[in-house]
């Protein structure tokens, strides 16, 4: 346990030293909030609507934070450690690579929650955004979204044969999903063709689910989103685990 705590502390330190992860997980979503808040203000999404722009944007940016840690930070860390044989060095200690990987997942989950917390505080202070949902549906909504996104990131690491190919997969899927899922701008602004494409992207379901539970929806209203995200978690997790076991660790 002492070793695992030390590994978590080290990974946390390294996360904060990595400008890319730190900036895109903790700073960039707040900048997006300021940018879109400056453009749209916190007006109703359409005339007469009782939902305001920032009430929709903040949960969507929360999914953006999940995307950064799950599809960029964690997979690239895993691929980098594997390519440089850093896991092998840890395997030559009582800690083993399993504990290192567990610490990496743990730290990325923690930083996701920190990023979401910062975003919620910024939203509340700047635009009086409130989370109307109860703690349980919000927690389940975030957990399903994180599980699906982290499983996808894990699969990309398992599919990629080195850091370059893993980066390519992660960047490709992250940016496509970021712009077409409603995580950066509300999907109600999308033309019909883009809406059709976005229906195939797991992140779309995460955005819909998190927006819904933040607005106070019960989970019963989001059965489809929960089902899709659950299926993505299982499929990517199982496929990733099978492919990862086949990798040469030495």
């Amino acid at each position: 346990m002492k070793g695992f705590i030390a590994l978590c502390k080290m990974e946390l330190r390294l996360f904060t030293r990595d400008f890319f992860s730190f900036f895109f997980a903790l700073v960039f979503p707040v900048l997006m909030l300021l940018l879109f808040g400056g453009i749209f203000g916190n007006e109703p999404v359409y005339e007469g609507a009782n939902v305001r722009m920032m009430d929709v944007c903040v949960p969507a940016y929360c999914v953006m934070v999940i995307g950064v840690t799950s599809l960029m930070s964690l997979p690239l860390t895993l691929a980098g450690y594997k390519e440089k044989k850093i896991y092998k060095r840890f395997d030559a200690t009582p800690a083993g690579k399993g504990n290192v990987m567990l610490a990496q997942v743990f730290v990325n989950v923690v930083m996701t929650l920190v990023g979401i917390f910062i975003l919620l505080v910024a939203g509340a202070v700047l635009y009086h955004v409130q989370v109307k949902g109860k703690i349980l549906p919000v927690s389940i909504g975030l957990s399903f979204s994180m599980a699906a996104m982290f499983s996808m990131g894990f699969l990309f690491t398992a599919v990629g044969w080195d850091v370059k190919s893993t980066s390519l997969l992660c960047y490709l899927f992250y940016f496509v999903m970021l712009f077409l899922s409603g995580a950066t701008m509300p999907d109600m602004l999308f033309p019909d063709t883009v809406k059709t494409i976005s229906g195939f992207l797991p992140m779309t379901y995460a955005v819909d689910l998190v927006q819904g539970v933040f607005a106070g929806d019960g989970l019963g209203l989001h059965g489809r989103e929960l089902l899709v995200l659950g299926a993505v978690t299982v499929a990517c997790g199982v496929a990733g685990a099978i492919l990862y076991r086949r990798k040469d660790w030495t």
């Binding site: 070793g3 030390a6 330190r13 390294l14 450690y81 850093i86 060095r89 030559a92 200690t93």
Partner: protein, 257 residues
């Protein structure tokens, strides 16, 4: 009689198209230094990686502290220190952070602050590991291998990248560590190092054991394989090795000039 720490019997290891280790057997006892020598690709590192539990053998049996290192790696590493041939560490981690991290893995870690000073790395403790020179990284790798006060040390190319003064210091240090009862299995291309440090030699050629025994027995082994007129009793270990090892084609100036 000294306790047997490592026992390897008929070790077999194959990669996709290469049979890297073929039926190799040897043992290492407490307070003994066994050096594995041989050309590049002769199976030295593959052999020690099986002993370290980092590779699963395809055949044969390995016992380290009477345990299978592949199946019981966590237990074996409580008493085994390892210095890998190539070791990388997380980017941006500092020397003292890495030492502290490794110390946290063990119940009774060595005094790494003292080791840092003895290894001449005290002034570099705040420096990111990736900014160390290759010699400094090598010293750090050696330090980390000593972190758990090991009963067995596996050293793959101990002094590669070290300057002559530090090399000699390392020889003295590891000589003293051996006197403390620690068993050492080492791989080296430096035959002067093997001559000074080792008690026994395991000589591999194309994955097969050619010889395992004391340095004196190695001398006798080579003597029987060279013409009488070419033999001198004063030959160094390096000379002996060069006399029996297969010759590789040297670089000629043809095609260059």
């Amino acid at each position: 009689m000294a306790e047997e720490i490592v026992r390897v019997e008929n070790l077999d290891l194959a990669y996709k198209n290469v049979h890297a280790v073929k039926g190799v057997s040897f043992s290492v006892k407490a307070g003994e230094i066994v050096a594995i020598i041989g050309q590049n690709g002769s199976g030295k590192t593959s052999t020690v990686e099986c002993v370290e539990g980092l590779r699963k053998p395809d055949g044969g049996q390995i016992r380290v502290f009477n345990k299978d290192p592949w199946l019981r790696r966590g237990e074996v590493y409580k008493e085994m220190g390892v210095q890998l041939q190539e070791a990388e560490y997380p980017l941006k981690i500092r020397v003292e952070e890495l030492c502290g991290l490794f110390a946290s893995f063990y119940e009774r870690p060595a005094d790494w602050e003292l080791l840092l000073a003895q290894m001449g790395l005290d002034e570099k403790r705040k420096r990111p590991v990736h900014k160390l020179s290759s010699g400094e990284k090598q010293r750090l790798s050696i330090l980390l291998s000593l972190m758990e006060r090991p009963k067995l040390l596996v050293l793959d190319e101990l002094t590669t990248g070290l300057d002559p003064e530090v090399r000699q210091n390392m020889w003295k240090s590891f000589g003293n560590i051996r006197k403390g009862g620690v068993a050492i299995l080492m791989v080296s291309h430096y035959l002067d190092e093997v001559e000074v440090l080792s008690d026994k030699i395991l000589y591999l050629e194309k994955g097969e054991r050619q010889f395992f025994g004391t340095k004196q027995e190695f001398r006798e082994y080579v003597k029987t394989r060279v013409p009488a007129g070419e033999w001198e009793e004063t030959f160094s270990l390096e000379k002996l090795y060069l006399m029996i090892t297969p010759k590789t084609a040297g670089l000629t100036m043809e095609g260059i000039l």
